[in-house]
Amino acid sequence: MGTGYNKTHNILVLADHLSHTKTIQFNEDMLMKKSILFVCVILLALILITPASICKAAEPYKIGAVFSVTGRTSFLGEPERNSAKMFEEQINAAGGINGHPIELIVYDTEGDATKAKNRIERLIRKDKVIAIIGPSLSGTTMAVIPVIEKAEIPFVSCAASIKIVQPVKKWVFKTPQTDTQAVEAIYLHMKKHGLTRTALLTANTGFGSSGRVQLKKLAPKMGINIVADEVFGPKDTSMTAQLTKIRGTDAQVIIGWTVGPTQVIMIKNWKQLGMDKKFRFYESHGFGSKRNIELAGGAAEGVYAPLGRVVVADILPADHPQRNFVLKYKNDYEKKFKAEVSTFGGHAWDAMAMVTMALKAVGPDKAKIRDYLENIKGFAGTGGVFNMSPQDHCGLDSGAFEMIVVKDGKWALTD
């Protein structure tokens, strides 16, 4: 900055001096032209000087990110990109990591596995990033894992599937809770209330089918009896037939597993059929948007759902370990993007937090960053309290979910 200031200052003094010199016989026009010329020189000098002064700061740490920012799964990628960018902005505004700013390079996968692979290779070869976060989908993550393992670069996925970290891969970590943990949370809650017989109502989509597999796999282990197993399409307009079938069984609970409009339609049908008095309804962890309560128009009353703490940050007890971290993220996000916060963006936020924690502790050394990530303990992120280990590269358990019930049109904590 010092030299920049001096240069500008000298030019200014010179300009001032020339324009006020009475001894030299310039006419008015000439003087005018000269002044304009000098103003131009000054502006040019300023333009040239500014970037130079920034370059004086320490070399930035480059972090790569790939998300499905556009395409069918942009509801995941967009908040993730926004969150990661916001994290970059905040950390740089606070002076970076040990004096180094971070530079986040984000590419769009459009939810496509081939594109994800190409972008990751570009990040590694061309951009030479130190670590990579994303992609948004389990499918794209699985597709890029071989590239990551070969390049030996720390990688924190923002996708949900348990397959990403089981079996453990040396360089691969992930931040989102898995559907297994959500299922466990529901089953534990049911047993606590003495409910053991459940009916399943799942969408025949990737999300729904994966949930259905986990629900069926964990049921015998946890002493839950599945008495009906109904399926519907993601664009179906009514789940009345499936619910009617469930109504004829001795189920105590209905577990619905879907995202999108069907998660509202099914509870509307449940209420319309008058089944709400007899069957308790659990939605999946995908239910966490206030919009769903509005859309259901009263039908969401009494519905339970295991939700990530991001969406319920404001009702967490004051001494909850995640409360401050989550609440800050939520408030910042909602203020900056004028959109309701989602758990998805939180996954990218957590990934950024972990990678930058590692950078701060061990510097830009890939192997050391990996070792650091593997040993993160007690980090209270948006997704839960992470306890990583060489056996567990996700580090969350069913406690990552808060069991919520809809009460008076709002989320409420429940025991």
Binding site: S74, F75, N204, E230, V231, F232, G233, K235, T237, S238, T240, A241, Q242, T244, K245, R247, G248, D250, G260, P261, V264, I265, K268, Q272, L273, G274, K278, R291, E294, L295, A296, G297, G298
Partner: protein
């Protein structure tokens, strides 16, 4: 244990099947009207339904118009979209093959869907039911008032359309074009005008379908394609171009889905419905109520 026997279940499946089927029927009729006038399958038919739902949501919940007024304005707006679509995209291509026009409608459906995404975003929207949400009970089956609206409006539309095609000059002229375009032109019917009208009419019908299901099933920008697929199924099953065929087949498809889900397996309900469709086409390629003679005269 609540006393909920098989009879109650069967009644509930019946109601559900008829409700869902009514929507397929209206979409199917929309396909038929355009097919009859132009011999093209309008793949943007589902987009009319989506637009109907979303425009209605905006008029009722954002502009706060009373329901009946919003209903009429929505029909007008979507009909206008149908008109523009025909004037700007279909009419200029008039000297071209039917297949090109069909592909044009696919392009238009993508365009309309994209525009709707820009206007309304990707979220689903709810619409308040036309008359309350307190279910009635019949034979142990719960019937939401909206179900009655859906069935009632479908019946009303069928009656009005049969009167229109059977009793009015314009309706008869449209039917004449459907039978034989050249002959109709020779007796002084303005065939181009009829094509334009057919697009307007089926856009308006789509809008009605969208408005009556949104209170039950929500609506979002990309719902159109799936509804169009089921409506198209109804239209083929009933016999392409056959007006009553679409109604019968639409309700039949709804019932197969509903009973299939309830009595056999919800995982296979779509497969059962499409299986029935294939079966009918094997046995009677012209569809349930279609005439084999008439279908020979058509291009496809």
């Amino acid at each position: 244990m609540e006393n909920y026997g098989l009879i109650n279940q069967l009644a509930q499946y019946l109601i559900t099947g008829i409700t869902v089927g009514s929507i397929y029927a209206i979409v199917g009729i929309g396909f038929n009207i355009i097919y009859n006038a132009t011999e093209i399958i309008n793949f943007a038919q589902g987009e009319f339904v989506m637009l109907g739902g979303l425009v209605m949501v905006t008029l009722v919940h954002t502009v706060h118009l009373p329901m009946p007024l919003a209903f009429l304005i929505t029909i007008a707006i979507v009909t206008l979209v149908g008109l523009l679509m025909e004037r700007l995209a279909i009419f200029p291509l008039k000297e071209t093959s039917v297949m090109r026009l069909v592909i044009m409608t696919i392009a238009l459906s993508i365009l309309i869907k994209g525009l709707a995404m820009f206007v309304w975003g990707k979220n689903s929207f709810a619409l308040k039911p036309f008359s309350g949400d307190t279910p009635l009970s019949l034979l142990g089956a719960s019937i939401v008032p909206q179900t009655l609206w859906i069935i009632g409006i479908t019946v009303l539309l069928v009656v009005l359309l049969s009167l229109f095609f059977g009793r009015t000059i314009i309706g008869k002229a449209m039917s004449a074009c459907a039978d034989n375009l050249e002959a109709a032109s020779l007796v002084g019917i303005n065939a181009q005008r009829m094509v334009m009208l057919s697009f307007m009419l089926s856009a308006g019908l789509g809008a009605v379908a969208g408005m009556i299901i949104t209170p039950m099933a929500l609506m979002e920008y990309d719902r159109g394609a799936m509804l169009a697929l089921k409506g198209f199924g109804a239209c083929i099953l009933g016999g392409l171009g056959n007006f009553y065929g679409a109604v019968v087949a639409g309700i039949l498809l709804g019932l197969i889905e509903s009973y299939g889900a309830g009595l056999i397996s919800s995982g296979y309900k779509d497969a059962l419905a499409l299986g029935a469709l294939l079966l009918v086409l094997f046995i009677k390629p012209s569809g349930l109520l279609g005439s084999a003679e008439a279908s020979k005269l058509k291009k496809f």
